[in-house]
């Protein structure tokens, strides 16, 4: 540690990056996919029909269904369909046990017929969304781990900036076909050029779970009354308690109209009804997150469910709430239209690539020292196996998830759970494979298999459903076509990567190898 500030930061960057890099790669890749979770769900449940959006009809249909199926539930949630998610989603919670997380039942309804959609059971894109912040771990451990990883990511980003001595001089520098130098140039390029996104996404992920990981201020300011804090920040959660007397819930549509009038034509995202069969029923109408960049958690209009009386309109956001809402809104990207959504996706891929190239560089630099002996010490072999499993292995798992969706029988009851299990089984098998095969072979074989699986998805789609490219391109179902085409492109990319990896394992001419070994040691 006596070497100097930059060297110390380089040390920190390298070790923090390595230890959390594998986890962060998974978080970034699945998080990036989550930007298109609705489109992924659409591909994975092609039976859900899209209809012209009619909020009044959807709301009426949902209310009728819930009154029939869950009249005595403690809470109802109705999520209205929008341009990306054609499903009318209803959710209800049987009863509220204080302190325990509720038992929720979710159903997707057809907004025209009012019946539950007969679509194959699948988590769809929601799986990637959930995974990227809670992994597959029980509550709350997954979130803690991902938030810790986010803090390490933040440290890695800042130490990376400090370490990169020639950040301005090398701003436009990318020198391919030069071995380790190229990997470092690439790492720097996707890091520095997309830095605003990386800093935003990392810091905002800390802010999103800040109440959980940094509760000290809440306790210091509110003492035992943490409920009071959440009521102040989310006024819509402060609802009238059950009175015990039966009441009749009024139609929700007029309340919806009134709420929209308050927002000068803004869109409604969700409607939540508390204690619908009680005389103290309350209805909270939430504004759609896609309306604005700055997410307003408090933007709700609340009514008494049985009298229709307007109880509360949320106030203008304070500056701190707006700042918090900005972090949330920017991270989620709900407001993004199709073009901007693709840009978010590309930025996410850049972040994923930044982490991936970092992991490759870490190993590559140290492998050079052992290249002559041909035997890798245990620690390096461990890193190599984890690199392969966490990167190409994860991609195989994702492909497996999509293949399972098309191959598992539609009527199979536990198919949703099995899709997820196959994801993890594929990932586990790739880890096993990486342990059994030598480094280069492991990469080449997994990348090749990934290339095959992804490139074949449009074909798989054509063989198993009637919503393949021939149909989706003609009818203008861009989500469906986009999914097939993106998988194809991913397959091509993985194939190219496999080919390059294969070529490098072929012995190079002596001059090139010598050049590769005499790289100038940089402060990294």
């Amino acid at each position: 540690m006596k070497e100097g500030f930059r060297q110390a930061m380089a040390w920190l960057h390298t070790w923090a990056g390595l230890i959390f890099g594998w986890l962060l790669f998974a978080i970034f890749l699945t998080g990036t996919l989550a930007y298109f979770k609705d489109e992924i769900s659409h591909w994975m449940q092609p039976e859900v029909q899209a209809h012209a959006l009619d909020d009044a009809r959807s709301l009426t249909v949902a209310q009728t269904y819930l009154e029939r199926v869950a009249p005595t539930a403690a809470r109802w949630f109705i999520t209205l369909p929008d341009s990306r998610d054609a499903g009318l989603s209803v959710m209800w919670q049987d009863k509220i046990d204080p302190g325990k997380r509720g038992n929720f039942i979710t159903k997707t309804l057809d907004p025209v017929s009012g019946e539950a959609v007969q679509a194959r059971e699948s988590m769809g894109g929601e799986f990637f969304y959930r995974f990227h912040y809670q992994l597959q771990m029980p509550y709350p451990w997954g979130r803690w781990l991902t938030t810790i990883a986010a803090m390490v990511m933040f440290v890695a980003l800042i130490t990376g900036i400090i370490t990169h001595k020639k950040i301005f001089k090398d701003f436009f520098t990318f020198r391919p076909r030069k071995g380790q130098r190229s990997w470092l140039d690439g790492h720097n390029a996707v890091g520095v050029l997309v830095l605003p996104f990386h800093l935003m996404i990392t810091y905002s992920s800390l802010v999103i779970f800040m109440s959980m990981v940094m509760p000290a201020p809440i306790l210091a300011s509110y003492g035992n009354d943490t409920r009071g804090f959440f009521n102040d920040v989310f006024p819509a959660t402060n609802n009238a308690p059950v009175l015990g007397q039966p009441g009749k819930l009024l139609p929700l549509v007029p309340m919806y109209e009134q709420a929209r009038a308050h927002w000068a034509g803004g869109h409604v995202g969700r409607v939540a009804v508390n204690n619908p069969s009680d005389v103290n029923a309350s209805v909270n109408v939430f504004r759609a997150g896609s309306d604005r960049v700055v997410h307003d958690f408090g933007s709700t209009v609340s009514f008494n469910g049985s009298t229709g009386e307007l109880l509360r309109v949320s106030a203008e956001q304070s500056l701190p709430a707006a700042i918090g809402g900005s972090f949330y809104g920017l991270h989620m990207g709900h407001f993004a239209g199709p073009v901007l959504r693709w840009l978010y996706f590309i930025c996410g891929l850049a972040g994923t690539a930044m982490i991936g190239t970092g992991l490759v560089i870490w190993l590559g630099k140290r492998q050079l020292k052992h290249a002559k002996t041909g035997v890798m010490p245990f620690e390096l072999r461990l890193v190599e196996v984890l690199n392969i499993a966490s990167m190409s292995g994860l991609m195989l798992a994702i492909a497996g998830f999509f293949w399972a969706n098309r191959l598992l029988p539609v009527s199979f009851a536990e198919r949703s759970d099995w899709e997820v299990q196959i994801f993890f089984i594929a990932w586990g098998l790739s880890l096993l494979h990486a342990m059994l095969r030598r480094g280069r072979q492991g990469w080449v074989e997994q990348l090749s298999l990934g290339a095959l699986l992804f490139a074949a998805i449009p074909l798989l789609n054509a063989l198993t459903t009637s919503s393949h490219l021939g149909v989706s391109l003609v009818t203008g179902d861009w989500a469906m076509a986009g999914f097939d085409l993106t998988c194809l492109a991913s397959g091509v990319f993985l194939g190219w990567a496999a080919w390059k990896m294969h070529r490098r394992s072929v012995p190079q001419p002596k001059a090139e190898r010598a050049r590769g070994l005499t790289l100038k040691p940089e402060a990294h």
Binding site: M1, F154, V207, M214, S221, P320
Partner: protein, 100 residues
């Protein structure tokens, strides 16, 4: 990177100490800084708490950077505990003021 056999135990101990100072000490410092902001900011209670929580991660980052940039592991702890004590004092005063 030195080869495995030549890293002395004292080095490993120092690194471990710095890591603990950064992770645990840093969290403590960040929490106390956040509490200070929450108690001292002239805005509403909820707003002050939100501001405190949002800013805490910057303090955490500074603590982590200090712990690895300073010259010895002792300095790492010192550099994190001293501000923590200062924040704790300020927070204590703020808490007492709110009470009375």
């Amino acid at each position: 990177m030195k080869s495995k056999t030549s890293l002395p135990a004292s080095y490993r101990l120092a690194v471990t100490s710095r890591v603990l100072a950064a992770v645990v000490g840093g969290y403590l410092m960040a929490s106390l800084a956040a509490v200070c902001l929450a108690l001292w900011m002239p805005t509403s209670r909820a707003d002050a708490v939100i501001t405190g929580m949002m800013s805490s991660f910057v303090f955490y980052l500074l603590a982590v950077i200090w712990c690895f940039a300073c010259r010895t592991a002792w300095r790492a702890w010192f550099g994190v505990m001293l501000p923590s004590a200062a924040f704790a004092t300020l927070a204590g005063v703020g808490f007492w003021m709110v009470r009375t």
